[in-house]
């Protein structure tokens, strides 16, 4: 059932690709670069964030006024604020697309689980940084979000009170609250880069940028959006006020929309449950390749007699599953007799794609259940070396 659903979603995802490919050349299909687009928007966020940071004053009295000063008096301040605001939206849209695309196209299991897990952490930290960004303006919306968060944290058993103090930087909203929010905005943003290292460490040549056309297009779009629809603050926060209606980006602040309708504690519990479920997604379907309708060809095996230590497989392996180690003994073939290095396959990282076999000119790598000699035989048969066909 779940499996069938995933297959249907995969089919739909790829159908969407074919539609996009009808309009755009394959290399420019943005759906193939969701990760690169997310990284682009993150970079824009960091740069525009630094510029905003120069004018921001983290204090209860000064925060709102400093943001207003940036918006109305600093040259192009409103544009930078708008870019920071809209790039954050675009960033979250991009990582959500990235998540669903990789989920539905079966790129999350087995050897790829490290990327999935780091991606879930990236999602959580990004969402949190996006949320604290709303607090920094310190208008009525910030106040409402703060009070909802405080209620939710307080309802956590055992450590609720402690969490609330950590979040507010003191026993209640005080002069230390906004410096704490500023830290909770910039700290996670820096953590993202540590997590990105984890996200990339198993990948050779990760695609971290979209094609240049998309960089220019995205930048242009952000400039136009930021100028045409300037980001604006609500009324300033008042101590003791209880603001009512508020508009947020529902696609990542939906827990707050939910928290308005039910108890904030339940919204928090739901978010935690979703994140925990997200982390176990790679381990939910325990299937053999046969059950998945795949041919299990086995992990790549190095034929040690023939390996010359040329490193071609090492450079081509997309998942860094091949290591070059100092050769413990000489190879048998003439080309391998004087080798300095020997290729070793790390089984837990191998996805059985066979790219290393295509890279190896020395017949030193094999997929155990699709051997070179069998393929050669099938080629000879197909090429007509055996018997001609009537057509």
């Amino acid at each position: 059932m779940y499996r069938r659903l995933l297959l249907a979603l995969q089919s739909a995802t790829l159908r969407l690709d074919t539609w996009v490919n009808r309009v755009l050349p394959q290399d420019f299909n943005p759906l193939y670069y969701t990760g690169g687009l997310a990284n682009l928007f993150l970079t824009i966020l960091v740069v525009s964030g630094i510029l905003i940071f120069l004018y921001y004053e983290p204090s209860l009295e000064g925060a709102y006024a400093s943001v207003e000063f940036l918006t109305h008096h600093v040259p192009y301040g409103v544009v930078f604020r708008g870019i920071h605001r809209y790039a954050a939206d675009a960033y979250l849209v991009a990582i959500l697309l990235h998540l669903f695309r990789n989920w539905f196209t079966d790129r999350y299991r087995e050897a790829r689980d490290s990327q999935w897990l780091s991606g879930m952490f990236l999602l959580v930290v990004s969402g949190f940084a996006g949320f604290t960004g709303y607090l920094l303006v310190w208008d009525e919306r910030s106040q409402l979000l703060t009070s909802l968060t405080t209620q939710a944290l307080r309802s956590v058993p055992l450590i609720g009170g402690w969490l609330e103090r950590v979040f507010l930087g003191g026993p209640g909203v005080s002069d230390t609250t906004l410096p704490r929010f500023l830290f909770l905005h910039i700290g996670p943003a820096m953590t993202l880069y540590v997590l990105l290292w984890w996200h990339y460490v198993r990948l050779r040549h990760p695609k971290i940028w979209p094609p240049a056309v998309w960089v220019l297009f995205s930048l242009g779009l952000l400039f136009i959006l930021a100028s045409a629809l300037p980001a604006a603050s609500g009324p300033p926060a008042q101590p003791g006020a209880s603001p009512e209606g508020f508009q947020v980006d529902w696609f990542f602040l939906w827990p707050y929309v939910l928290a308005r309708w039910t108890a904030p504690g339940w919204a928090l519990a739901l978010v935690v449950a979703l994140v925990v479920y997200g982390m176990v997604i790679p381990y939910t379907l325990r299937e053999t390749p046969e059950q998945r309708g795949l041919r299990a060809l086995g992990q790549a095996v190095v034929v040690e007699e023939n390996c010359t230590g040329c490193e071609l497989c090492y450079y081509d392996c997309p998942y860094n599953a091949i290591y070059m180690v100092p050769s413990p003994y000489p190879g048998k073939s003439r080309a391998a007799a004087n080798r300095k290095l020997l290729a070793v396959v790390v089984d837990s990282r191998c996805v059985e794609c066979g790219i290393c076999i295509g890279a190896c000119p020395f017949e030193a790598l094999e997929l155990p259940r699709m051997l070179d000699k069998d393929v050669q035989q099938r080629i000879r048969r197909g090429a007509g070396a055996a018997a001609p066909v009537a057509s």
């Binding site: 690709d17 394959q26 998942y319 790219i355 997929l367 393929v375 197909g382 057509s391």
Partner: protein, 139 residues
């Protein structure tokens, strides 16, 4: 290839490799690897287009095929991230090598078609066969 009968000239033999993740292959192939409806085209399914050794394409030409091709996923959508880019690169190099050996590099082709593009794939193969026949087919 003295054994080749006359009608072989009209239907040049082609050997291809098809990525498991590219075109949906249910009902596409006969048990002997030939494409249903195109007995002169043999397609060997591979786990990724990057699995194909350029030497295999050369072997196909040497063994009597008029042409050889590889079909991977749409560029950018390789399940293994870059198998089809790597393969496209290798085919470029193989073409250069073949032209130095006075072999027509147009006898090697690379296609990129996704799950839902079987018709386009079959059309591309048919066009490839036509091109081979136009250029004299089997040498």
């Amino acid at each position: 290839m003295a054994a080749a009968p006359e009608r072989m000239e009209t239907q040049p033999r082609v050997v291809g490799f098809l990525c498991d993740w590219a075109v949906r292959s249910e009902g596409l192939l006969n048990p002997d690897d030939t494409v249903v409806g195109m007995p002169h085209v043999t397609v060997i399914r591979v786990p990724c287009s990057g699995f194909v050794k350029p030497g295999w394409l050369e072997l196909a030409l040497r063994s009597g095929a008029a042409g050889a091709f590889v079909c991977g996923c749409p560029m950018g959508d390789c399940l293994n991230r870059e198998g089809n880019w790597i393969m496209e690169d290798r085919i470029d190099q193989l073409r250069k090598r073949l032209s130095r050996q006075k072999v027509d590099p147009e006898r090697i082709a690379f296609f990129a078609y996704g799950l839902h593009e079987r018709e386009q794939f079959l059309q591309a193969v048919a066009d490839f066969v036509d091109r081979l026949r136009g250029s004299g087919g089997k040498q």
